[in-house]
């Protein structure tokens, strides 16, 4: 099906009549206090059904582990491109055009954008998580030779090919079918159920053609004239249209600015000669903990650089 172009992705699906299309107004500052969001112009724009801000959503906070991530920024903006309002309209294009009319009055605050700044300000997501076996420090100190250095790795956008898109179809008894370009349908199910305050089994999530996208879902419910947007990993975003529509890759990336796997990392590392424990705490979505260890024979390496190379590449 892939090679024939017959595989149906969510953007290829026909949608039910009167489906609403969502687009977001995004923050253009990295950190700030929201004083006021002006949605008047957007509400009057052609084809607009409604405009939603954080105050309209009862169960605002979501998150894969802790529910501390607002679907729409309420009082504080914490990253560039954070969604501050959502527009529902009769077409994706109208929704996007209306979203661009939303203006936010924001008092800009100092932004922490590098690991170094975060370390010096002690601005951490949570208490450090330590996983310890043995006494590494003592072993390193007792070793005949040791090396130390630092490792930093820049962020890398995944650039999944299929953009973030979801289609939510309300069915009977507060149940809902959600088609989402997600990698984690279970998580989408849990979060949508949480936001809608319904049991998990009321939400069916369908992922077509497993993609590299992160989870994003949009639910539109015309009966209640209410939209609920859910996104694990904080950023909320959605676009949907019946046929082709101009998805905007820049917006697509901004809206998921806070997805941790894109983040750069930096770590101070120490080695001792006999046993090298080289660990990277990798903040991939599953918080993978990667440990590689090996025992190098120092005679094998003619120089310090060769030795380091061996350490790094093994």
């Amino acid at each position: 099906m892939h090679v024939q172009g017959n595989a149906t992705y969510i953007d290829d699906m026909p949608v039910p009549e009167e489906t609403l299309h969502a687009a977001f107004a995004l923050s253009d500052v990295a950190h700030g206090k929201i004083n006021h969001i002006d949605i008047k112009k957007a509400k009057q724009a052609p084809g607009v059904h409604s405009v939603i801000v954080a105050q309209d959503i009862e169960r605002l906070n979501i998150g894969p582990i802790k529910h501390d991530e607002p679907l729409l920024a309420k009082d504080e903006i914490v990253f560039y491109g954070q969604a501050i309002a959502a527009v529902l309209a009769d077409s994706h294009e109208n929704a996007r055009k209306a979203a661009s009319l939303i203006e936010a009055n924001v008092t800009q605050l100092e932004a922490i954008v590098t690991i170094e700044q975060a370390m010096s300000k002690e601005s951490f997501l949570d208490k450090p998580l330590e996983i310890i076996t043995g006494d590494a420090e003592a072993a390193i100190n007792a070793a005949k030779n040791n090396l130390s250095g630092s490792l930093s790795i820049g962020g890398q956008e995944h650039y999944y090919l299929e953009g973030q898109v979801a289609l939510a179809i309300p069915t009977e008894d507060n149940e809902m079918v959600v088609y989402s370009s997600t990698q984690n349908p279970t998580e989408v199910q849990h979060l949508v159920a949480h936001v809608l305050n319904v049991p998990h089994n009321a939400i069916e999530v369908i992922t077509l053609h497993f993609s590299l996208g992160k989870c994003f879902a949009n639910l539109s419910n015309r009966k209640k004239s209410l939209i609920i947007l859910t996104v694990p990993g904080l950023a909320s975003s959605i676009r949907f249209d019946a046929g082709s529509n101009p998805t905007n890759r820049t917006l697509d990336l901004y809206e998921r600015n806070n997805v941790p796997s894109l983040h750069p990392m930096s770590k101070t590392i120490s080695f001792c000669e006999r046993v090298i424990l080289f660990s990277i705490f990798s903040v991939i979505s599953c918080n993978a903990f990667l440990i590689a260890s090996f025992k190098p024979d120092r005679n094998q390496y003619s120089s310090y650089n060769d030795f380091l190379d061996a350490v790094c590449f093994n």
Binding site: H2, Y9, K97, Y159, E162, S244, N245
Partner: protein, 497 residues
């Protein structure tokens, strides 16, 4: 307003649609959703389709098929052409050989990029008898894959060719004559002039076929937006949601498609695509072959025009610095009056040019090399084939013996316009043989350029890399073996090195 679509010999009618509609939007609105939208800016290739056009080769009329990015091509530019999409490859229940090869070599994972890759491979399959890795990489230069990786896709290209029979092997080769006749019939009346009205809002579209017709349209509507291929301009539609109220498409104007090779000059019509101009350019400046490989992906070069690239006035643009270094001039035309403007004077400030309302570029006139000149070009960018430069540099040196007699250097990405580097030229003549040339080049650049910081590079990086490129150029001229890391595309050759 008709074109041929896939295996349908009966022309497809576009009807009156919004002239701002792209080919991809038209396809997807008409339930041909196999072509995907990944970026809507010609970067990812998920929307790739193949376009067939009547051209004259060796005095014979033939159909030339080429891959394009449908997301940034206007639907009305299909008029009189043959569009082949992913839906048009199968014959009955049989897969096309390139589709079969992709399946057999496991060339698809999430599948979203797959239709685009298949179409690029289809164009390659259609146009080539034999392939090598270079040709395959070139054909796939406009396609990005984020999960499978390129190895099985390249393997699919090889395997499709391994089994390629000598005789015509697919619908499009078997039915060549029938398709050609249909296209000839379509091209009898090519001039398009229409207007589309929606909510009382009227949008005009004109596609003249001769200079005279173009003069008339622009004389009457000097404020109309001139579009050639639109590989950059269309982004205003797809990314900024703008709508042009009057589009004049110049890509069908016969005179603007001509290349004339006179005694001392090469004159290239402004609507000549990069792919069509390449043979003439490489003939006189062989070094440009490597440069144009970096310039853009194949689908972009198949569609983008030299005139559009210049008139669009990107501060980077890539070809303008090269043409400035080559002392090119532009023939600007308005109401059938023609004036010549040096390209280095053409760019006034960011996105502003010397073009007046209703005036357009008729051709680009490049003086031919006299034999004692050497052109060196550099492009610094992150992606290899399809990226906007951080810095683009062109150096054209005329020698007297082994010493430089005169030097022309132009830079892209260093200022609001593609700009000549006068100070650097002087410094280079003065310090030609000196050890501290990089430092001298850096100082000279700093006097004349205040580049900006952006996502591609910092100002400091731009200055330093430009100075380093000057040094590299001179080492190249002096015959030193300069390894170009960007050219090392294969891991195996990297390891051997």
């Amino acid at each position: 307003v008709h074109f041929l679509l896939n295996q349908n010999i009966t022309p497809t009618e576009l009807g009156v649609i919004n002239p701002n509609t792209t080919v991809l939007q038209w396809l997807r609105n008409n339930n041909l959703v196999g072509s995907k939208e990944g970026c809507a800016s010609g970067d990812c290739g998920a929307c790739t389709a193949v376009i067939g056009e009547l051209v004259v080769q060796n005095k014979k009329q033939v159909i030339e098929y080429k891959s394009i990015n449908t997301c940034i091509a206007l639907a009305y530019s299909l008029v009189g052409k043959h569009l082949v999409t992913i839906e048009g490859l199968m014959e009955g229940k049989d897969l096309h050989p390139v589709q079969r090869a992709m399946v057999e070599e496991s060339g698809s994972q999430c599948g979203f990029c797959t239709p685009g890759f298949v179409m690029s491979l289809f164009a390659l399959y259609h146009n080539e008898k034999k392939v090598n890795l270079t040709k395959i990489n070139d054909a796939l230069s406009g396609n990005l894959c984020r999960c499978t990786g390129y190895k099985p896709i390249i393997a699919a290209a090889f395997s499709a060719f391994n089994e390629k029979p000598k005789k015509p092997s697919d619908y499009y080769t078997q039915n060549r004559t029938k398709i050609k006749q249909a296209l000839i019939r379509l091209n009898g009346h090519q001039n398009v002039s229409l207007s589309y009205t929606n909510n009382g809002n009227t949008i005009r579209y004109d596609s003249p076929t001769s200079l005279q017709e173009l003069d008339q349209v622009l004389n009457k509507h000097p404020a109309a937006k001139i579009i050639a291929a639109g590989t950059d301009l269309s982004l205003e539609i797809t990314q900024s949601l703008k709508e042009f109220s009057h589009i004049v498409n110049v890509s069908s104007v016969k005179e603007l498609q001509a290349i004339s090779d006179s005694h001392s000059e090469l004159e290239i019509g402004s609507a000549v695509t990069y792919q069509d101009a390449s043979a003439s350019l490489f003939n006189y400046w062989p070094g440009l072959e490597a440069f144009l490989h970096r310039f853009a992906s194949l689908p972009i070069k198949n569609w983008a025009t030299i005139g559009g690239n210049i008139a669009n006035a990107s501060p980077i643009g890539d070809m303008p610095p090269v043409l400035i270094a080559l002392e090119a001039e532009l023939k600007l035309r308005k109401n059938s009056n023609v004036r010549l403007v040096k390209l280095e004077d053409f760019f006034v400030s960011y996105r502003k040019t010397k073009l007046t309302k209703g005036e357009f570029i008729e051709s680009i006139v490049i003086p031919k090399p006299t034999g004692k000149e050497q052109l060196i070009t550099h492009k610094i960018s992150k992606r290899y084939e399809d990226d906007i430069s951080a810095v683009c540099m062109a150096i054209n040196i005329a020698f007297s013996g082994d010493q430089p007699k005169s030097i022309r250097i132009a830079l892209g990405g260093m200022s609001g316009i593609p700009q000549r580097a006068h100070q650097l030229e002087k410094a280079l003549i003065k310090h030609w043989d000196q050890e501290n040339l990089t430092q001298q080049a850096y100082e000279a650049l700093k006097k004349e350029f205040s580049p900006f910081n952006d996502v591609r590079a910092s100002a400091e990086y731009r200055l330093q890399v430009s100075a380093n490129l000057v040094k590299k150029s001179i080492l190249m001229i002096k015959g030193e073996n300069v390894v170009d890391l960007a050219e090392i595309t294969q891991m195996s050759s990297f390891l051997e090195a």
